[in-house]
Structures are given as C-alpha cells and as structure tokens.
Symmetry: none
Subunit: 204 residues, 4 copies
C-alpha cells in the first residue's frame, strides 16, 4: 500500500515533532518515530537524510522566522529615542513577539530545551552571539544620531540582554499564561526595561 508522498512526509514530521518534544532529540529513536507514524523505518530515510536533518526540517519554519525577526531589528525606523516613549513601537514589537510565541510554542520548546545532541544543540549560544552583534551595531547607530547618549555599554552587557531575551521567550513558552497575565507581564517588562535603558543611556 502506497500513501502519497506529501502525506508521509508530513506524518513523519508531525510524529517526529511530538516525539522530540516528549523525549528530546537524543532520547528519541528513529524506530519509535517510524512505528508511531506507521511508516517503515528505512522509508523515512527516503525523505530525510538522517535524524539530524529530520530535526532541522521540523524546526525549519521557526528558524527562518527567527532569522527574519533578527534582521528586522536593525531597520532605520527603529533608530529613534522615541522608542523609549513610543508605546506604539513597543506595542508592535511586543505583539510580534507574542505572536511568534503563540504560533511556534512547541517548536520553541524543542529548539530551546530539547535539542541536545542535535546540530542545534548550541543554538542558544549562537543566536545570542549574533544578537549581540546586532545590538552593538544598533547602539553605534544610535550614538551617531544622538551624540549626547551614553553608548559606552559593555558588549557583555548587551550579550546578557540578548540572552535574557531568549530566557524570557523560553519562560513564556513553558508557562501557559492567560491573556490577562500576558498583558500584565508585558507591561511590567516594558516598564522595567525602559527605565533601565533610559537610566543607562541618558543619565549616566
């Protein structure tokens, strides 16, 4: 009996996602995926080169989304001190953030907590490093535009903030907040962060 191509591929991906989520990349066996997906073990290898590629394929949509998010961060319209006051900008930013979380919740869990043993094992570190570079560039551009601000902020602090971003993402993904809880958290987070950055950049 032959099932259609796409069907099998999708079934395998779905089952793999479930299995990876339950047991993590390393503790998930191809055998189990095959059995639970109702697909012949060796047949999986007609669709995916190996276990790692299967994992990557599961996370592909999320990964490209993240890439585009990071690219957007540095766009010119964000280069304004307004952002400390502009609730609009912040709101927009946050909505994107929350949307991303809601759309990719399981995949984010996978990526952040279950990737041990895969080639994405060090994604957090990699992503943080890249974010840090982006963050530093942002800082320099701001300094050019607003020479009076304090841009003498250590790379490591930026690094830390980038890492924080992922931490928060991870926490949100892990805990299922109600809508109100989410709203309150975001307000707090914005209040806290805005005050912090303002102090750091404008009053030192």
């Amino acid at each position: 009996m032959q099932t259609q191509k796409d069907n099998i591929r999708q079934i395998t991906l779905d089952e793999a996602r479930r299995e990876f989520l339950d047991n993590g990349f390393k503790d998930t066996s191809m055998r189990t995926i095959a059995k639970n997906a109702g697909v012949g073990l060796s047949n999986i290898y007609n669709y995916f080169k190996n276990k790692d590629e299967l994992f990557l394929e599961v996370l592909k949509p999320l990964l490209s989304k993240l890439k585009s998010v990071m690219a957007a961060h540095n766009s010119p319209e964000n280069l304004s001190l307004n952002i400390f006051e502009s609730t609009d900008y912040q709101r927009e930013n946050i909505d994107m953030f929350v949307g991303l979380v809601e759309q990719y919740r399981p995949d984010l869990k996978l990526l952040l907590y279950k990737a041990y043993g895969s080639s994405l094992q060090d994604f957090r570190e990699t992503f943080t490093n890249e974010s840090t570079i982006v963050g530093m560039e942002y800082l320099y551009k701001m300094k050019e535009k607003y020479p009076h601000i304090n841009a003498n902020i250590s790379e490591f602090f930026i690094h830390t903030m980038s890492s924080w971003w992922l931490t928060i993402m991870g926490e949100i993904v892990t805990h299922n907040l109600t809508h109100d809880e989410t709203e309150q958290f975001i307000t707090e987070y914005m209040t806290f962060g805005t005050a912090g950055w303002h102090k750091l950049m404008c009053e030192e």
Copy 2:
C-alpha cells in the same frame, strides 16, 4: 596497586567532573571515567549507587551553596527600601555572587549546561520556581513594611527575573571576563536593575 579508600572516591569524583564537563552527563560513559581514573569499573559502584548519584555527588558542594544563598536572600536585614540606594548592600550581594562564580565555575557549567539526561536536568526550572516563591515572599514582607509601594507585580514577572539571574550566572561562567570587565558589567547591571525595580515598585 591498591589505592586507599578515600583516594579512590576522590579520584573518581575528580575524573568524573572532568569527563562530564567535556562531554556532558549523557555522553560520558562510566567506562571512560573508570579507565581514566584508573579505577575498576564495577568498583565505582561500591562508592556511588549509579551514574546519576555520581553526578549528584560531584555537584553536592555547589548545590548546598546555592541552597544557602537562597535562604539568605530573605533575611530580615535585607528588608529595607534602602537597598535601592545602599550601594553597600548591593555591593555585598554582588561580591557574594561573583565569589560564588569564581569558586564554582566548572560546577556551574556542569549544572547549567551539561546536566542533560541526569536527574538535575531540570535544575534550572526547579531552582527558578523556588526562587520565585522566595521572591514573592520577599515582596509581601516589603509591602507589609512599606505599605505605599506597589507590590502588585505578577508572579510570572518574578519568575522571569529569577530565571534571568541564572541566565546571567551562566553567561558569566561561560565567558571569562577580566576584572575590569566584571566591574563594568556589575555597574551596568545594578544601574539597569535598580532603575527598573524602582520604577516598578515606587512610581506606578
């Protein structure tokens, strides 16, 4: 050649730490530990019940240190709004923090990044949860003492901040900062955090 009892135990622990650090809990094999430690494989089981307990034993000192740190956080002398201004208190707090990192750097790496597969795999989550409880209690007590402050802060936000703490710890452990870099970072961190908390608790 026989080695004395305590020696064996210690040698095993040391070699296990090294091996776990290099390859992570899951990818470290008892065989390798035994071979590199020069100890008979099955003899290890005379000192430690199993691989997991060996791992726990390696991390025991760090774990109890962390426990005491958390306990101290809630002590009465910390219950003062002064802490927002008192550089002394903050300084002291930070020094403890830095001291801890310097003393337990490898163990912290182990605990935060290499524990996959062990019973400490979820330490980060567990610890964050406990920290959150402590943090909430602290908040209530502060509210009792200073009724005018805003203590209406979401548990999830506290949770997030606790998690942040571990994130920062992890970053410091991972990157070997010079003394000056550490100083600058701490200053930035304090500035940022103090402003944030102040805004959140006193001006809302």
Copy 3:
C-alpha cells in the same frame, strides 16, 4: 527529460564501471550508481536483472576477449620448438598481451581486484584452472611432435604458471609503466621464462 533507451543503458554501464572501480563491487550501491548516472534507481532493473548482472555486463567485452585469447593459445602454428628461439612469435604474443592490457586496463582492475561479492569473485581461480587444462594439452601435443622433450611436468606447476600470468597482468595493470619500462620488463620476462622452460623441457 527522457534519455533514449540505448543511452540509458550505456550511461548506466559507464557510471557503474566508474563506481565499481572506485569502491569495488560489494561497496558500490545501486543507489549511488543511479544517482550519479541520473537514472531512476528502479529503472536500472529494466535493463539489468540485478547488480551482479550489471557487473557482468560491464565486463562482458573483456571476458570474451580473454576467452578468445585462451582459444588461440592452442592453435597448431604455435606447436613448434622454434618458439624458444623465434623472437617473432614471442614478440607477437607479447604485443597481444600488452595491447590487451592497454585496451582493458580499468576492466582488468575491476575483474582482478574489485570483484569481491560478485559472481566473478572467483574468476582468477576459474580462469587459472581453464588455462591449466589448455596448458597441459599444449604440453601433450608438443610431446607428440617432439618426443625427446621432457613433458613430465606436474599439473600444479602449469597451474602455477597460469596463475603467474594473471599476476603479471595484474601488476602491469596496476602500475602505469612508461613505454621503456614496459620494454625492459618484457625483455627480462622473456629471458627469464625462456631459460626456465628450456631448462625444464630440454635438459632434464
């Protein structure tokens, strides 16, 4: 894009030869052949019954050439003691030999060194056995014609000489001799062999 029938057959054969040469029969997979030849895997089975037959088909030209060479060996005009002196005959013989090597170098490598796992795995043995029979017959006929020669040579010695022939073929195929090197070798080989045979058949 469809390729014409004969094309596909030939392309497959060529790619198979290349692959077999690189990795040997056993370590070459049908998948690889198909992929590199740009032919559908299962389509190969429309042209060749199985992997073994594909291998046989690759070597078919060489095999029939070898068969004819062996047949020629026993022809009447060769039945002369002159051959020990007649450089002409020897020369002709050698030239055929060298020509064969130059024309079929890769196929000879295939047949002699890369056939493990195929039905030609024991070709060397088979061919040697047949050659031995031919050689023995040759010897008898010579004895009939020249009764004074010593034809009491063991079958095993003939066998050994037949095997030697293949060995030398293999060596020549493996090492890429220059023209001069080939010439010198042939001279040496003829000198050595002629002296040996002469001693064995005429002076004992």
Copy 4:
C-alpha cells in the same frame, strides 16, 4: 555462568577464524560469530575493540612470522652466487617455505583471499612493495660483491617476482598437494627459477 578469560578469548578467535574463512571478513557478522561461539555479542567487545581488531588478532601469529621471514631474506650468508648451485641453501629456503604453508594454511587463505573490507585488504600490495625493496637491496649488495653480474634489472621485474612469490604461496595453500606432488613442484620451481635468474644475471 562465567567462563575463564582465556577460554572465551580463544573460543572467540577460533570461531572467528572459521567464520572468516567460510564467508570472508566482510560477509561475516559479529552476531554470527557470537552465536556460534556461544559468547554474548557485546561480551566480545570486552576482548576485542572491534571487528577489524578481531581479524588482526586472528592473523597476528602469521603476520609476525611473515615479518621475520622477510627480515631473514637479506642476511649476509645468503649473499653468494653459490646459491645458484647450493642445493643446501635452496632446500633450506624451500623447507621454511613449505613449513610456513603447512603451519598457517587457513590463516594464509584468510590473509590472501578473505580480507576484503578489513584493514588487511591491501596486504598483498603492501607486502609486495616491501619485498621489492628488500629484493632491490639484495641485488645491490650482490653487485657489490660480484661486480661482473648484471644487476641492471628493473624494479618492476623484482616487483613482479615478489608478487609471484605470494601467488605461489596462495596456490599451494589453496590446493592440497600430496608429499610427492609437493616435491616434484619444488624441483620444477627451482629448476625453472634458477635457470631464469642465472640467465638474467650472468649471461646478459
């Protein structure tokens, strides 16, 4: 139930030899060896690092014997033109040769015909190359001692003769000659070879 160390090791080696002989290295599975030897599959890995090492261990005695044989070839007492006449020397040489074959018959088959896939796959080539070097050195030393001989013999010819040596060894190992057959063959071989070498080195 625990069997003694050496027992198991030996049983495994014996069974492995048998299996390798029957099916060749590549087509012998560790599972089969384990089953037929009555040893736990994974237990084999307590004695041998992997399949290849098991194979090497089976052939170890033969390999060191061959090494010593080659080393002896160049010894000073062999440096004499007498050897063309001295039946003693030749006899001794041949006896060693035959003894070696009789003692190591199965192992020689293994090494020469069944090693495909193992690290000894190219033993024949390797050994021939080394033999060639030894042979060339021998030739030079002879030339020094007997300046009138013709030492202008191509390396490739020597190579071919070294290869021949292995070929003959292989043939003898494969065919079970009676004592008389062996004697006759040796005589023929010596007659043939001596005449050949003599012609090549002394009359050209």
